[in-house]
Point group: C2
Chain length 194, copies 2
Amino acid sequence: MDYTLILKNISKHIQLTKLEEQFFISLLKEKKIKRKQFLLHENEVCTYSTFVTKGCLRGYNIDQNGFEHILQFAPPDWWIADMYSVITQKPGSLNIDAIEDSALFMLSRADQEKLFIEVPKFERFFRILTENSLVANRQRVLDTMSLTAIQRFEKFCKQYPTLIECIPQKQIASYIGVTPEFLSKVKAEYFRNL
Amino acid sequence: MDYTLILKNISKHIQLTKLEEQFFISLLKEKKIKRKQFLLHENEVCTYSTFVTKGCLRGYNIDQNGFEHILQFAPPDWWIADMYSVITQKPGSLNIDAIEDSALFMLSRADQEKLFIEVPKFERFFRILTENSLVANRQRVLDTMSLTAIQRFEKFCKQYPTLIECIPQKQIASYIGVTPEFLSKVKAEYFRNL
DNA sequence: GAAATTTCTTAATCTACCTTATTGCTTTCT
DNA sequence: AGAAAGCAATAAGGTAGATTAAGAAATTTC
């Protein structure tokens, strides 16, 4: 098992002793899932925080008209969970599935609480992770209010250059909040005017 | 000075000893500001987290066309800050001003770090605060993607019944992401069809 | 308490984006 | 390899919401 990526991810914000590393690793469950397989269905309670080491996941909601809205992509080195459900331990509305065959580490809520008690530094780690996530989400709220579809598309391409190569364009459309038809149209206009 | 509200706010998530309470209180700076006064201008570094005890603040961005987009209202019992700027200690783009004459407690980033070291429980407190804020923000992203203007308006009224009485309708429009003219129109249609 | 400013409403015109449908292309399944 | 499914592009017609403008109501200011 290769723990280098996840340990590097953690060392971005806190420094662990060898012993603490060992303890942390002992709490992780490894999992591999195939493309299109689900990690979490809506109406389930989300009991795990998941770290991606290979492949790519997506988290999305389905609205009352049956349309998907992607809230998050999780390529390698990213964490994903239904935060609402994790916090409240109530059934959530997020679906998480795999865009590609993926390799994951999973940390249960119970083990995470254990971790907070044994190694309080992790309290800090997840606080910082959540803060960064909040900042990104606020910016996304702002972008949907102040940018046009094509501007959001450009921004997405700059922000996630590795993603545009592995995910279908209709899912980018779903993330930036437009129909695939419209994205295709404005993209064509955009490149015509270059 | 009345610390009951802020102490009650904190006791929602962590339990403090009398001594810890005293230490926390010693770090707070009290501030009163008048309606329309600014607490933070864009391009400034935000060095304080602010807790509102009276009145109401608002946090908003101004886009390239000069339009305001309100990201957050902060009535009594709420915290507000430019999280991006606080984390990075770089100039942010958020403006914070007072909708009404307001009373505040301010906690500097430096004192907050001190607090984390002296009373690690606060690490947990602010993690939980940030988690809740993240959940709310994700829901907002989803709402702007899947609900119509009138549905977002209805939801806002249900969610913040105390706010609708003290803030002008055009600011609600700015928060839910439509022009005041359009909100006025759909509201009229809505009540006509009841 | 009158003047000035801000806010709300209504209405006409305009546009960004949606819906539905068709076609060709690529990927996946058996 | 062939069938089936998924994906991208294009186009015509439709709708939610923006823009502009102007008058009425409410609030603030002096």
